[in-house]
Structure formats: C-alpha cells, structure tokens
C-alpha cells in the first residue's frame, strides 16, 4: 500500500528537487562560502537543503574537482570555505544552459 496523496506529493517533489541541488549549490558558490552560509543563502532564496545532504554534497563536488576549499579562522571559528574551480565554473555554465533549455521545454509541456 503506498502512502497518502500528500506523502506521495512530498516524495515526488523531493525527487524533483534532488535533480537541481547540484546546480543550485554551484550557482551560489561563484563567491566563496562556507557550508552554513551556503545553506542559509540557498534557504533565503527559496531552496532549503538539509545539512545532511548539502555538506556531503560539497565534499563530493570537491572530489570531482568542481570545487576547491581551504580552512580559515573567521570570527574565532575554523571554517572551510568552498569556491568554484575553473572546471566548476565551466560546469556551472553548461548546467545553466541545460537548465534554461529544460525550463523552456517544461514550460511548453505544462502550458
């Protein structure tokens, strides 16, 4: 037995959002940010991502050489700052183009 309609909506909505999490994170890292500030920045712009997903994602993007990071002490607290690498900037451009194309197609499909 599947869940209720609202549970299904929530689950499918989550699946839909999961696909754009990488693009959303990359878009906010044109300027360097640390994990918590990035989370806040995304939430303020209407894209809340839970910490358990976002922080491991940053590590994964760094492993894929799309991000670079360095530790710095800021306001008496050690923070790891992330920023886009050259490869990351190129990826952001490509994914943005893909997103714009997709948005057009989806807009057309849903109209």
């Amino acid at each position: 037995m599947s869940g209720t309609q609202s549970e299904l909506t929530e689950s499918l909505g989550l699946e839909l959002r999961r696909g754009v999490v990488v693009l959303a994170a990359l878009s906010q890292l044109r300027e360097e940010q640390y994990g918590y500030s990035l989370k806040k920045s995304l939430a303020e712009r209407g894209m809340p991502i839970d910490e358990g997903t976002l922080y491991p994602l940053l590590r994964r993007l760094e492993t894929q050489e799309l991000l670079q990071s360095d530790w710095r002490v800021d306001s008496g607290r050690p923070r790891r700052y992330y920023s886009l690498t050259t490869k990351g900037k190129q990826m952001l451009e490509e994914l943005s183009e893909e997103w714009n194309r997709l948005a057009l197609v989806m807009g057309d499909l849903l109209s």
């Binding site: 640390y34 918590y36 839970d50 910490e51 358990g52 994602l57 590590r59 530790w71 050690p78 790891r80």
Partner: protein
C-alpha cells in the same frame, strides 16, 4: 553518564564521533573537523547563544534533523555502503537462482545415491537427508556466491565488463514471451490432486494401488510392501513435490513461461528415470515363480509380464518423446509459444 544529563557540547562531540568512525580513515579527521564546525554554527545561530548554554533537547532536535550517523556517514562515504550494488545485482540474482536449482538437484542426487547404497532407509529417512543436504548446499553455495560478488563489488563493478549492466548487446535480448493462457481452475485442480496423491501415497499406502481380479483372487501389485521394496519411493516423492512447485509457479505467474517449460522438461526426464527404475525391477519380478504363483495361471502370468513390460516401455518412450519435443520447440522459438498439451504433464 545518563542520557538525560548529556550536555549540548557532549551531544555534538558524540554525534561527530559517531559519523566519523563510520568513514574511511583518510576522511575521518577532515570530515569530523568540518562537521563539528558546521554543527556548532548551526546550533548556536538557531538558538542564538553559546553551545554550552543551549538546551540539550534543542541540540538533539537539530542533530535528528541532520540525520542518523549511519545516513550522514553514507552520504560522505566515497564508496557505497552496500555489499552488492546495482551493477552486479542482476548477475548476482541469476547466480543465486542457479545455485538454488543446483542445490536441489545435488541434494536429490545425493539422496538417490545413498538410498541405493542402503545408507538411507525409509521414506522419512530419505526426506530428512534430502532436507539436510539441501540446507547444507544452499548455505555453502549461497555463501560462496555472496562472498565472490562482494569481492567483485570491492574490486569495482565497472572493471568487470561482462558483468556490468552498462555493457550489453541489444541483439542478445531474449525474445518476448507470448502469454499462453492457462486455466487457473485446471491448474488449481492439479495442485489439489497432487497434494492428495502425496498424502495418500505417504500416509495411506495401503489404499494406493489396484486390485486386479485374476482367477478369482485379488492381486495387489502396488501394495505398501511392494512399493517400499520395488519403487524408488524417495524419487517419486521428489517428483511430485517438483510437480507441485511447477503448478504453484504456473498459478502465480498466470501464464506459461520459458522457465516453466524447461522445468517441465526436467520433470519429464525425472519421470523417465523413475519409470526406468520401475522397469528394471519389473523385468525380473514378472519372471519369478512367486509372480506366477500369485497370478495362478502360468500362461496368464507370462502374458501379464509381457503386457506390464510393454506398458512400462511405452510410458517411458512417450514421456521421453514429449520431453524431447518440448526441448525442440523451446529451441525453435525460444520457449515463447504456448502449447496447451504441455500442461498435461505434472
């Protein structure tokens, strides 16, 4: 320390430790440092105060929303936390199915060999041995299969092209299975009939058989004693159980599949084996003075002997012919075309 007395500071320390200890050694320190920093920032900002002064319940709520240490560690981990991943899973399941089938066949073979050597006596002895060997085989073979696939997973599924789901040839796809309609009523009836026969054969063997009136005397040529002495009882039971399984599969699938047809071929070959063993014993039994004496009339006994042998040989040839025909059809059309006659057996 009682959980009620844990401070926010201690909760964070424990959480970070719980996550980091689940990570590979090379990631542990770095992730722990970052996670600790991020958690403290999140907790302090959300509670607007120093972590030392924050209610542990608030901290616990934030940690819960972050996810369990297992889940968070799995997200950080560069390697997936599973024994056999999606790339190898289909091949693993195919192997496991083969292993299970081979275990059944191997166990049956062992029981037959032991029963012929006299190491097993009685039906229950045979059934128990079969169960024992089967469980041993499944445990051993399945464990080896799991170990091999887990090892392949660690070596990297992508480095094993022949097992990788990403490399496949569309021209080697199996043909579409055309549904051969089955009669659920007929299959159900057959299941009940086989179950009744199994109970009858094993628990009330004295009722099993035929009484042939010869010269006013009753000849029970399938009496309980003769069944035990002459017939390969264990094999017959195995065959009926296999036939039961086949019909249950058929009922569950609701259609005839290539796999079930191959199962039928196996059943046919099993029946040939059983009738072959019966014929071997019958060949000598009908020539014995005891048989002639039981029948009462030497001429009739001779004739009956010939008829019984001929009937047995006829049955063997018919079943063998059917099995070979099925194999031929399966090879001709990939086992897709339904033919209702195949439902007649088992």
């Amino acid at each position: 320390m009682n959980s009620a007395t844990l401070s926010s500071e201690e909760l964070v320390r424990r959480y970070v430790f719980a996550v980091s200890r689940r990570l590979p050694a090379n990631l542990r320190e770095d992730v722990a440092k970052e996670l600790d920093s991020l958690l403290r920032e999140t907790i302090e900002e959300q509670s607007r105060g120093d972590i030392g002064a924050i209610d542990p319940q608030t901290t616990a709520g934030i940690l819960k929303s972050m996810g369990s240490p297992d889940v968070v560690a799995a997200r950080y981990s560069p390697k997936p936390n599973y024994l056999i991943g999606p790339e190898l899973y289909p091949a693993f399941m195919r192997t496991l199915r083969l292993v299970l089938m081979a275990s059944g066949a191997f166990a049956a073979l062992v029981v037959v060999m032991l029963s012929f050597s006299g190491s097993i006596t009685g039906l229950w002895g045979g059934a128990l041995k079969f169960g024992e060997v089967l469980i041993d085989c499944i445990y051993s073979f399945a464990a080896v299969a799991v170990l091999v696939f887990a090892l392949l997973e660690r070596l990297g599924a992508d480095k094993i092209p022949e097992l990788s789901a990403s490399e496949w040839d569309p021209f080697r796809l199996p043909p579409v299975e055309t549904e051969a309609p089955i009669s659920s009523f007929g299959v159900s009836l057959r299941i009940y009939a086989i179950a009744v026969l199994l109970i009858w054969f094993n628990f009330f063997p004295q009722w099993f058989g035929m009484i042939l009136g010869v010269s006013g005397r009753g000849l029970r040529f399938l009496s309980a004693a003769e069944l035990g002495l002459v017939l390969p009882v264990v094999l017959i039971n195995c065959w009926w159980v296999a036939a039961l399984v086949k019909n249950i599969l058929l009922l569950r699938k609701g259609r005839m599949t290539a796999g079930i047809r191959w199962f039928e071929v196996g059943l046919g070959l099993g029946a040939v084996l059983i009738f072959g063993l019966i014929l071997r014993d019958l060949w000598t039994v009908v020539d014995t003075p005891a048989f002639r004496q039981t029948v009462g009339n030497p001429d009739l006994a001779g004739l009956l002997g010939h008829v019984l042998r001929a009937v047995n040989v006829g049955i063997i040839l018919t079943i063998l012919g059917q099995a070979l025909l099925k194999v031929y059809r399966l090879r001709q059309n990939g086992g897709t075309q339904g033919h209702h006659s195949s439902l007649q057996n088992g």
